[in-house]
């Protein structure tokens, strides 16, 4: 039957209303809807989310219906506006504790302590990661994953050139100089598509030169950022940049282009995150991969050995205005099932590496990705034992972190001095510490 113009006009507001179904709505089969806004995911990632999370959760019970929307890189901005307007999703995912701090301080998310008791989350998550979401003694989020910056390297290239895996700054510079002499870029890194690469590098320099204890003191306000260990860290980053260790095209190459230089043997090493395991073009899951990975060695005299860096790449909370907090909590608990852990880490390695305490070795072996399994096992052990450094995107407050990222380019390009850079960082950090914007630090021991 053809529709009249009047019917069409009348249908428009109804359709508009239907597209904006309030949270707490029920699906046709009577299930309560749980809404979840996700950040960035490529087509493979979106397919994984649909199959391993949405369809698997919805098939696992008959009370709740999970609906996920991929919002892209702007999700953090959208979330803030939506939460203030009381119109956000039930499940609030942030890009880590640094983003969660403002939302938790504003009371926009629920304290999860009752659910944590019910589902025994405090017994199941690694304490250092879980503690990054504790404010005023209350738990406001669960960590979705753990990350760290690792040293990726082309093992075939090392073998061909007789290079040994560096264990300290001198050995690292020896390999880098040898690579430069052969026309090989020491580190394949580039920030053309993501300026945050600067902070991956600065996480390594601050922790591996100044040492994690000094970083902890600075984040606690006991040591200024202008002190000598940090001067040495920034100076080393500048020296490496100016010696060409990061190549001539650091500002022109994307993350993928620069990492592929290592895979192709045009660069020797990369300082990249554990999320690199999820990029299929790197071919690191193949048995014949030329790549290998290890934790970053000391670059100063503050400690010996190597270091992983504690990072939580995303947190999961429940909105204060959620009409269905029980459903959201049920989704969180589903994520802790062995089936979900295995399927998600097999299909999207590194994206959803839940920092659980009870990680039996055979659970990782089922993934079929030796480099990833090895790295997760290393992280798990280091975080369990409380031996780790601190990543800037997890523990630095917003303005200080933003300046750390953009300001370091001024140092590297000789626009300002190291002292001016650290002085400005200290000023911003002091103000943000005064305003209560510094994310919580985990206790010294795990």
């Amino acid at each position: 039957m053809p529709l009249t113009r009047r019917q069409i006009v009348a249908a428009i507001p109804a359709a508009a209303l239907a597209s904006q179904l309030p949270r707490g709505a029920r699906a046709e089969d009577g299930r309560k809807v749980v809404t979840f806004w996700f950040g960035q995911a490529n087509s493979d990632g979106q397919a994984t989310l649909r199959s391993d999370l949405v369809e698997a959760f919805n098939a696992s019970q008959d009370k709740y219906l999970l609906q996920i929307e991929v919002k892209g890189a702007a999700v953090n901005n959208l979330l803030k506006v939506a939460l203030v307007a009381g119109n956000g999703p039930d499940i609030v995912q942030t890009a880590g504790p640094a983003y969660l701090t403002a939302i938790a301080n504003a009371g926009q998310v629920l304290a999860l302590d009752d659910y944590a008791d019910k589902y025994k989350w405090k017994e199941r998550f690694l304490a250092p990661l879980l503690n990054t979401s504790v404010y005023g003694g209350k738990l406001y989020a669960l960590p979705r994953d753990y990350e760290s910056i690792h040293l990726f390297y082309n093992k075939e290239l090392f073998k061909q050139n007789g290079w040994k895996l560096p264990t300290n700054r001198a050995e690292m510079e020896q390999v880098a100089d040898a690579a430069l002499a052969k026309g090989i870029i020491p580190f394949g890194v580039g920030n053309a598509d993501w300026k945050g690469v600067n902070e991956w590098l600065m996480t390594v320099f601050l922790n591996n030169v100044a040492g994690p204890d000094n970083v902890r003191k600075a984040l606690s306000g006991e040591l200024p950022w202008t002190s000598q260990p940090f001067v040495e860290a920034v100076e080393l980053s500048k020296a490496w940049f100016n010696k060409g260790y990061f190549g001539k095209n650091y500002f022109s190459l994307t993350i993928e282009q620069s990492f592929l230089q290592v895979v192709a043997g045009k660069a020797a090493m990369a300082l990249g995150g554990t999320w690199s395991f999820g990029t299929k073009s790197y071919g690191m899951s193949k048995p014949d991969t030329v790549m290998d990975v290890t934790s970053v060695p000391t670059l100063g005299s503050a400690f010996t050995g190597s270091l992983v860096h504690l990072a939580c790449g995303a947190t999961l909370s429940i909105a204060k205005t959620s009409q269905n907090p029980d459903g959201a909590a049920a989704v969180f608990d589903f994520m802790l099932t062995r089936k979900f852990y295995e399927s998600m880490n097999r299909d999207w390695p590194g994206k959803w590496a839940l920092p659980v305490k009870d990680l039996p070795p055979d659970m990782l072996q089922g993934i079929g990705y030796p480099l990833f399994e090895k790295t997760i096992a290393t992280l798990h052990e280091a975080f369990s034992r409380g031996q780790y450094g601190f990543t800037t995107w997890t523990f630095w407050p917003g303005a200080t972190n933003s300046y750390l990222i953009d300001g370091i380019e001024q140092v590297w390009l000789n626009k300002i001095t190291t002292e001016a850079y650290l002085g400005r960082m200290q000023t911003l950090f002091s103000q943000e510490a005064k305003d209560g914007k510094v994310p919580p630090l985990p206790p010294r021991t795990a």
């Binding site: 953090n76 901005n77 939460l83 504003a106 300026k195 095209n249 500002f251 190459l253």
Partner: protein
């Protein structure tokens, strides 16, 4: 008469005046975007004036304005005059020069970033392979602003040329033919007939260029994000960084107020010039 204007007035009040007043008010508060705003007086402005990045961003806005008041305007005027003289080429040439305007900004930005300037995949890489030593201008803090401006000029000048051509076509053909009979060449015709003939359009476009230059955001954000080392930072990217990376809405609002101030000055200048024109025509 007021009733006729009411719908447009209501829309303007809701989507322009109220957000503008709220932004102005936010400049006097400390606010992270989700919590409770706290009165800060002039602290956001003090912090802004103490920040060297603000002054370099403001300088970059002035440089951008100077570039866009001259380069694309000159190219567009010459092309419009040439097309006026060669009517048979108008349709084809107008279609070609207008094409960049209809390509999405994000696509244009990525094309220049990846296919022109990139030393790995762009024309720059090809030139380097063939013996020319050229670096990526986007990677140089002293050249990145000019490189992004070149991208925006490529995107913008065709539109200006079409606008100027439309204005030139309003000039009396008798006036143009009389000038030609008097022996005026292309440049004399351009200087003494065409330019005076499109003066109101030219003035409007120059004023709008000033306003848009202080609002410029998308090309810079897509291509360089204001870097490297703040080399291409402008007020709009600075405000965005304050609001969305640093969670400091008050500081962002203060930067936005400065942007609006220059837009207001340009608007006031336009109104003043228009009043002069009205007085002359009556």
């Amino acid at each position: 008469m007021w009733l006729f204007a009411l719908p447009a007035l209501l829309i303007n009040v809701c989507i322009i005046l109220i957000p503008a007043v709220l932004t102005f008010t936010a400049a006097f508060f400390m606010w992270d975007g989700v919590g409770t705003p706290v009165w800060a007086g002039l602290a956001n402005f003090h912090n802004m004036f103490d920040d060297p990045v603000f002054w370099s961003a403001l300088t970059n806005n002035f440089i951008w304005t100077a570039i866009f008041l001259t380069v694309p305007v000159c190219i567009a005027l010459l092309m419009a005059a040439a097309l006026l003289m060669a009517p048979e080429a108008r349709i084809v040439v107008q279609s070609i020069i207008f094409l960049p305007r209809i390509i999405a900004v994000a696509v244009t930005g990525r094309i220049f970033q990846g296919m022109i300037f990139s030393p790995a995949t762009g024309v720059v890489a090809w030139l380097n392979e063939h013996g020319f030593s050229i670096s990526d201008p986007l990677a140089d803090p002293d050249r990145s602003l000019y490189a992004v401006a070149a991208v925006d000029i490529w995107h913008w000048w065709g539109f200006l040329a079409v606008v100027f051509l439309a204005a030139m076509r309003q000039i009396s053909i008798d006036q143009i033919e009389a000038a030609r009979l008097d022996g005026a060449g292309f440049f004399a015709l351009f200087r003494y007939v065409l330019l005076p003939g499109i003066r109101p359009t030219l003035t409007l476009m120059l004023i709008l260029t000033v306003i848009w230059s202080f609002q410029v955001f998308e090309f810079i954000f897509i291509v360089t994000r204001g870097g490297p080392a703040y080399g291409s930072e402008v007020l709009a990217t600075l405000a965005y960084r304050h609001a969305f990376f640093e969670g400091d809405v008050g500081q962002a609002a203060a930067a936005a107020c400065v942007m609006s101030l220059f837009g207001l000055c340009a608007t006031a200048a336009y109104l003043w010039l228009q009043r002069g024109d009205d007085a002359r025509s009556t």
